[in-house]
Every structure is written in C-alpha cells, then in structure tokens.
Symmetry: C2
C-alpha cells in the first residue's frame, strides 16, 4: 500500500498575471518564490490554531487586471502634460492605469492590503522616466512653477509609505535611465553613480572593475540590505539604510562622500573631500531627507576591495539573550576590528530560526540540547568577518574567545551558510502567508546598550499581549555605543485597520521605551506622525525650516513625509 | 685659555608680567617655553640672511600693562549689566580692561600682531562666566531680546579669528564653571561632558575612570590636537577639529553621539542613539557651526579603552614624497586597521624636522644618507598603532611590509619618541620667532588622494615664490579617500598687512587648486570670505537659512563667522 502523500499547503507557484494587482505587490522577481518549510508551516498551524484545511485555498490573490475606472482621475492639464513630454520625450512618460498604480505603491503592509483589495487611492497622474540630471532639473523647475507634486520611485521597496504620492502629481522613476556609473576612481576608492542604479548591477560593476574600469582589483560597495536585489543606490541613502554588513562597512550614509541634488531652490553638488572643517556640511544635511528636500541624482560613494576569500564564518549558541547581548557588546567595544555580518536572535527567533534553517531535530540540535542550551532560552549568533586576510582571521579568533567567555558554544559556519542562502529571499514568504490571512511584518529601532533590554522587553510584552502572535527579534547592526532591535511579528489580522492599530501601538511602545523611531527603514509617511513627539518641537522646527528653504511651495514628496507637512 | 661661550640668542625665558599684553598672546603656560634648538637656529639665520646680532634683543614684547583708555568704550546699558548680574551673579561678570582683552582674542597671527602693538579693537563689553546650561539659556534669551551680540570663549586657541567679538557685546567663558563630567556611562562607552572642560582634565578623568567612576578599566577620549592642553572639548567640536590620532579614533565630530544646545530659537538635546534613520540629524547639522547657531553646553562623546601599552611605534624614511604618499594610501586603503598616529613630512619639512629632532648629523642621518636617501628629497614617516594588543601589532607588521614595498627604510621608534615630546610644545616657539620679526604660521586643507600632489605643488610654488620663505608640509590625518595637507610657513614680514596679504593668497591657492578651505582649523572669520566661492551660492544659502532659523536677530558670534553675516 502506498503511504499517502503529506498535505501540501496551497503556496502559490504561479507567476502573477501581467498587469495584475498581484504583479505589483508580489515581492521580487515574478518567477521566484520561497515557501515556508515544513517546520515553519507546522509552527504556523500550531501558533494560530489552524489546520491543513485552512491552507488549501489562497485568498484575495489580486489576479484581476489593474483597471481604475473612475478612481483617481488625473489632475494635470493637457498643457502641463505637453510641457513634460517636451522635457523628457513622449516615450519617457506613461499615464496608463497600470503604470500609475505600479509606481505609486511600495511594500508597506497597508499598501499590500489595499492592492490585494484593488482598493487604491492617492495615485500619481503621470509616471516619468528622466534621462539625466538635466531632465530632473527641468522637471523640478516646471513642477515648482506649476505647483505639481513630485515623487521619486527608486526600487519601490519602501516599507514606510515613503514613495506614496499622497497629493497626486508626477512620479519620477530613476531606475529606467539614470542607472549608470559616471566615474570610477580607484585612486580615491570612490565611485560616482546615478541614484537609480539597482543594487545587483552596482555591485556587479564593482566586482568587475578590472575589466570594466581597468582597476587593479575587484571592488565591492559594502551595502547589502535585505532589499538589495530590488532597491536602488539612491534609495539606500535618502532613507538612511543599513546593509547586513554594516558593522564592518558602515551604514549607507557612512559611505557617502558627496551628493548631487536637484531641489526647487537650486541644484548643487557637494565637494568630495575625505574630511573638511568648513561649517555644517550640506552633504550631511541632505542625508535622510527622503525626497522631501529635493531629488538625489547622483552620489559619490566609498568602495572597498572585494576579498570574499578572506571571510571566516562563525556561529555560536548562547544560553540566553543576556549572554548573547553581552558577547556582542564585548565584540563591538573590543577594538580589534569588527566582523562584517554579526547577528543575534532572541529566544523566540532562535526557536523559529532553527526550524527554518532545518537545524531543529538534527545533529546540531541534539548536540546543543545535550550541552544544556535549552530551547526557549538559547540564542543563536551568526556572522562572518571581512577585510585583509590576517585582519579578518584575527577578528575571527578574537571574537571566538569573547563568545566562549560569554558561554557561547561554537556551531561551525553551517548556520551562516544556511542564512546566506535566504538573506535576500525571505521576503518572498510574505505573499504565501498573506494568501492565508497571516500578516508578517517588521519594525525596527536603534538602541543604546543600556536600554536594549528595556526596549526589547516592553515591545515584546505588548506584541505578546495579543493572543496568537509571534514576535521574533534580532540585532544585526553593531556599534561601540549600541545596536538595533529588529522585530518581526506574525499574526492573523482580520483587516487592514486592525493591523494598522496594532502597528501604531508597537511604534508607540518603541518610542516610549526610549528606542529610536527607526534604525534603517526610514520614516516615510508611516512613522511621521510620531516625529515631533520623538524629536521635540525645536528639532522638528529645524527640519521644517530646511524643508521650507529647499521646497518653499511644498512640492517635494508632500503629504506627510518625515512629518514636515 | 677658556673657549668662548657660543652665542645664545635672546630667547625669552621670563614669564610675562601679570596683566600684560604678552600674558595674553603668549602660547600655553606662562612659565613654559620651548626654544628653537641650535640646528633650527642656524637654519633660521641662513634662511633669512641674519646673524647673531639680529637675535640679541627681542622686539615688541608686549610687556606693558593692558590699559584701554578711550579705546572701545563698553556699549551695554547699566540696566543690561544689572540684568546679566542677576542671572549669573555679580561674581561671575567682569568688565575690566584686562579681562575684556584677554577673552576677546585667540591665537590667530593677526591677533598676535595687534596684541604685540597694544593695538586693539572689537572687544567684548563684558566677560561672563555661566555656571550651567540654565545660565546660558537665560543669558541667550535676554541677549536675544536686547539684541546683544554673544560670543563664546572655550580655550582661546582659535587660529581663524573664531572668537573675535567683532560686534562687541558679551563673551561667555565656558571653562570657568562649565567644566564638569555630567555622566560617565561605561555600558555605552560614552561620557557626557560640559563644553568648557579642558583637554587635559577631560583625558585625566577618563584615564582615572576606575577610581572616579568605578569603571572596569581606564578610558581615553581619543582626541589629541596640538592645542590639546589649551583647548576645550566644546571648541573641538564646534570647529570640527581633528586630533593627532584621528586616523584611528576619528575626527572630533566622529566622536559626537549627542549634543545639548542653547540657541535664540530654543534649547534642545539630541538623542544619543548609536544610529537612527529619522531624517536629517540635528546632531549633524550643529557640527561645525562655530557658535553662529547657538551655544554647545554639553556633549555626549564616545570613549575608548585606554591601552597605551599596546602601542607600537614606527618610523620610516622614503626616497621621495611620491613614495611616502603612496605608502600612506596603501595603508589607508588596506583594510587591516589603521594606526592612530600617522604622519609624513615632505622633503622640506623632513629637512627641518631632522634638524629639530637632533637627528641631522647623527648616526641615523649617516646611515640613511649612506643608503641613498638624499636630503632635499627624502621624506620622513612617523607614527604608532593603537587598540587591542594583537590588532595593534598586526597593524604594525602590515604597515611595515607596505612601507618596505614602497622603498621605506625603517628608522626604529626613535623619531616618534622625539616627536611625542614636542607634540604639544612646538607652538611655544612662535613667541621666540615673533620676538625677532619672524612669522611662523600654518594653513591646512583636506584633499582627495588624486589631487594631493597638485595642491601641494601649487601652494608650495606660491609660498616659495616669496624670497626667503620656508614652507614645511605634512599629512597627518588619513582616510581611505584622502588626507590633509598641513602647511607651515616661516618668513620675515615687516607688518601685519604684508602678512595678511600673503596669507590670503595662500588660502586662495589652496582653494583654486581644489583643496578644502580647512581640514580641521575651522573657518572662523578669517577664511569666511572664501566660503561662498568655495561652496557655491546654493549651499551657502542652506547655511544662511539655518543661521536665520536659529538666530534670526543675528546675535550669535556675529561679524562674519562662516561667512553667514
């Protein structure tokens, strides 16, 4: 007799239909998927009291073709459209329903809700693909004159409603043409790149520097956020992103040597000095302005020698969260160099992570359990080092000692290899969960060491006070003065508003417990309402003053960005 | 028969008289001196065609008592003085002639000229010693209401006319009372300190952290500018200073975690997060504002474990400037960690340095000359490493290899030990030279690697086009993208105006050759006239917009600071 096949959940493996809602909200490449594995699937069922029957038929898949009908009729006049066509060429402007929706939405959970429902509002009237900085200047000048709102679409991976065209107007897509490397300077170890270049193209060009630019060796950009494959260089900087190797290379803004900006008040390029004591730096002032001051058209970034062969992978299991955190603090303050990747998971994320990486129930699990590292308390650390060979090896040796001192048990490089495989693909699982009414979303914060435990506890206490809600937390960006807390919550929500209230409450708990409102997602229009309370009215007034200087008519990313309008 | 004593130049060894002009312009401690050694003295005579007779009698020594007579009568009304007395207490206000001059002058060459002549103008009316942040708030509020200019005196070591009270008004001396450590936080490795604390007190407190703050180990601030002994923590930051160990620890502004500011528009303290993606950071916006936006009352800074025992000293001689620069670039881009001190001298500075350090004519000199490192071409590198022991030793070993690859010959740690002895005391020689009509002064710039040679050549060409003028240059702050050029020029000038024209021309040559207007001296009122040309009117408008936001009535360090008014 044949053993019956185990139940296969209805994870969707079909590409979204062209021009469908799903083709807009689906993460990443249309033909790529990552489904929860058996361990995670079982966890979901157990956590939410579901059974196989609940995972048979996906819901609200968004397969319908995008059609707007009477929704959001464009407001631009024919004359305005004609002028814009004259600036960039007719072929670089689209105003069809699909384009208007596609380039008006990012990947924020509430945007996904609306797209699944085909329930849209706040669309740009026209999508424009500028060819170069001059096009952007002409567009911004005209838009300012005519009071037309201007939004920028980089990679579209915002999870903070960053690019939502709340006031309509025009959206500039930077990746279509403005995706070139303008200068490669090996002497200064810098590259000047247009803001619309996407992560993989950028990194590939640097890796191939010997053939492309006659460089002496391959280079790397050092910035690898989870959204790497579907985000743009400009987006990394205007939102103050951090890559998964930031502990070694620095956050996106640390890599910026100079920037070229177009604003309603004027255009400029900041000097590319390694350091200068000439007053407050406009180069710094623009960082994190999220399109509300002007448009970043190109940026000069630091680059680094690409030496992946020098990497040493490591992973450790710690008896509890306190020991894992202490080890990371000792590493970050030890003055022996930093590893590039360094991540610790709290007990709940460790529990789920070991499932997801297929470690649970295997040899490693048996080994660590036998050694007294108990599930529900134990915490996983993974990472790898970088840099010149002996430096990299010395960092590895020294952090190993520190981990052992803090009761860490080495688990070899295996869990890192597992993590590396999924480091860009985990977001694909969101659609699978959403298809069955389960929300997976994240919020994150910057914390000083002495407030880490407090923020972690307060936020977890709130999330866990909701029945049947998972809360996985990790730290993944390290500094001598502190780190970040990255919260992933998974739960069933009946509708968008229920979820939104939950999300706002988490942000509130992050803020009141003393965490930063965002470590690297930025603020957008989602976190903006908390800004004045967070910064105080004096500092908000500074940002509003700058907004007013650069954009007196309020045409740049208007509708709440950073809480400035 | 007795050999006649060799001629002793008339270097002055008497302390300045109390309340004399000299007591104001003399560098450093009244009873400390550093005279040119025999080698340097001979060089000066030869360079300027002077003989012993010219060094017999010091000129314009400024021994007269400071008396103002009818010069600069105070403008404040009795009511205004009374209100200020009520705010800080009568005992914390002085308006006597001596105080007014002492706290109105820094160490800029043209200030020294004027003080030697007893020829003063632009004095503050009153000197105020605020006791705390609340005093500063009350003073600034009242000054804003009454339109009284407000200046800040930290350590008084500005060489850019940074603290000159061009518009009169009041000068706040921060070091009298506001010199306390407010919080020592070992967990976060931060210290919160009032802006008036002086370098040595600050560093000593950190070194003594185990006894003062029950810390687990001694700490260091990591910032050691040449002015260290006579500059304040606040001054380091508002002027964007760099210490002699910046290549490892970072520049002053890199150490800033958060700041507390009093401005006419309002007071605020920025959050002390290790990183945050909440828009443009007011913490960054204030850096380098040089008192023109408001008053820095306290600052939270990174601190580092104090491990001087782990240092490895090194020095190398290179055949020429090109090889020395190339070695430094290889070190800075090598990704194996950075040394803390790293300095290379160009051929002329090497020539003078070997004299000054007593190396010329000795064993080392014979050795390197025999090995083919020719005077007039050869270049000296000195430095030492820092950090965890094996890290520090690895940096040492690796940079040694790089130096050898670039034809560097190791000279042991001896020249470093010589340099360390003089690292804070060299400025004392200025009075000796000035006493005999010789000016020694400096200007400096930040440069990218690919423009270093050009700026060095252009500036040197101009300086050397003046007869009998020395031009010594070094690089002492290193980044993967470039370094600084520090120019020291020595020459005879007949008067202040002749010198001023010369100085302006050097600044002009720095700027036109593509260097930054300042790497770490700041801008003050001296370099300010070049700012708009340097930054362009768009970026200047941003700074002016900020000035107008924080200080709409123009009372904060008015009279040209940063070119903002």
């Amino acid at each position: 007799m044949n053993k019956p096949h185990p139940f296969q959940p209805g994870w969707r493996t079909r590409q979204p239909l062209e021009k469908s809602w799903r083709s807009i909200f689906k993460w990443g490449a249309p033909d790529q998927f990552k489904h929860p594995n058996a361990g995670l699937y079982t966890l979901l069922k157990n956590s939410f009291g579901l059974d196989d029957a609940d995972f048979k038929t996906p819901q609200r898949e968004g397969d319908e073709t995008v059609l707007l009908g009477d929704t959001c009729p464009p407001q631009l006049t024919d004359d305005q459209v004609k002028t814009l066509e004259n600036i960039v060429g007719k072929e670089n402007i689209t105003g069809d329903d699909y384009s208007r929706v596609k380039f008006s939405y990012g990947k924020t959970m509430e945007e996904i809700y609306d797209l699944r429902d085909g329930n849209v509002d706040h669309l740009c009237d026209l999508v424009i693909h500028p060819r170069d900085a001059m096009d952007v200047q002409n567009i911004v000048r005209f838009a300012n004159q005519e009071n037309i709102p201007v939004y920028v679409f980089g990679g579209g991976s915002s999870v903070t409603l960053g690019l939502r065209p709340i006031k309509g107007g025009i959206t500039l897509v930077m990746s279509t043409h403005m995706n070139r490397i303008l200068e490669f300077n090996e002497t200064n170890q810098t590259v000047t790149v247009e803001s619309g270049m996407m992560g993989p193209d950028f990194e590939k060009s640097l890796n191939r520097a010997p053939s492309l630019f006659k460089a002496g060796c391959p280079y790397t950009c050092g910035h690898f956020p989870q959204s790497f494959e579907f985000s743009s260089v400009g987006g990394w900087i205007v939102t103050k992103g951090s890559g998964q190797m930031s502990s070694y290379y620095g956050d996106a803004c640390d890599l910026v040597v100079s920037q070229e900006y177009v604003t309603p008040t004027g255009s400029f390029k900041t000097h590319a000095y390694p350091a200068t004591a000439t007053g407050p730096l406009v180069n710094d002032i623009m960082k994190g302005s999220e399109g509300s001051f002007g448009i970043l058209v190109s940026v000069t970034l630091k680059i680094f020698r690409f030496m992946p062969g020098n990497r040493k992978k490591f992973s450790f299991i710690f008896p509890d969260w306190e020991h894992a955190v202490k080890a990371c603090r000792d590493i970050s303050q030890g003055e022996f160099g930093m590893p590039s990747v360094l991540r610790i998971s709290d007990p709940e994320e460790t529990f789920v992570g070991l499932k997801q990486h297929g470690i649970e129930g295997g040899i490693l699990d048996t080994y660590i359990t036998a050694r007294g590292y108990k599930g529900g308390q134990r915490c996983l650390m993974i990472g790898h080092t970088e840099g010149e060979k002996n430096f990299s090896h010395h960092v590895y040796r020294t952090l190993k000692k520190i981990c052992k001192t803090n009761q860490g048990l080495s688990l070899t490089g295996y869990p890192v290899t597992k993590w590396e495989k999924g480091k860009y693909s985990d977001p694909y699982m969101r659609e699978d969960l959403n298809d069955f009414g389960i929300v997976i979303d994240t919020l994150e914060t910057g914390v000083s060491w002495d407030n880490l435990m407090n923020v972690h506890e307060k936020v977890r206490a709130f999330v866990k006070s909701r029945p049947q809600t998972l809360c996985l937390t990790h730290c993944s960006h390290f500094y001598p003065q502190g780190t970040n807390l990255y919260f992933i919550f998974i739960g069933q929500f009946s509708n968008r508003d229920e979820y939104k209230t939950f999300q706002e409450n988490i942000i509130d708990h992050i803020e009141t417990s003393g965490g930063s409102l965002s470590h690297h997602h930025g603020v957008g229009k989602m976190i903006a309402p908390f800004m004045e309370r967070h910064l105080g009215k004096e500092q908000m007034a500074v940002l509003k003053g700058l907004k007013n200087h650069f954009d007196p008519r309020g045409i740049m990313n208007p509708g709440g960005t950073l809480g400035l309008d």
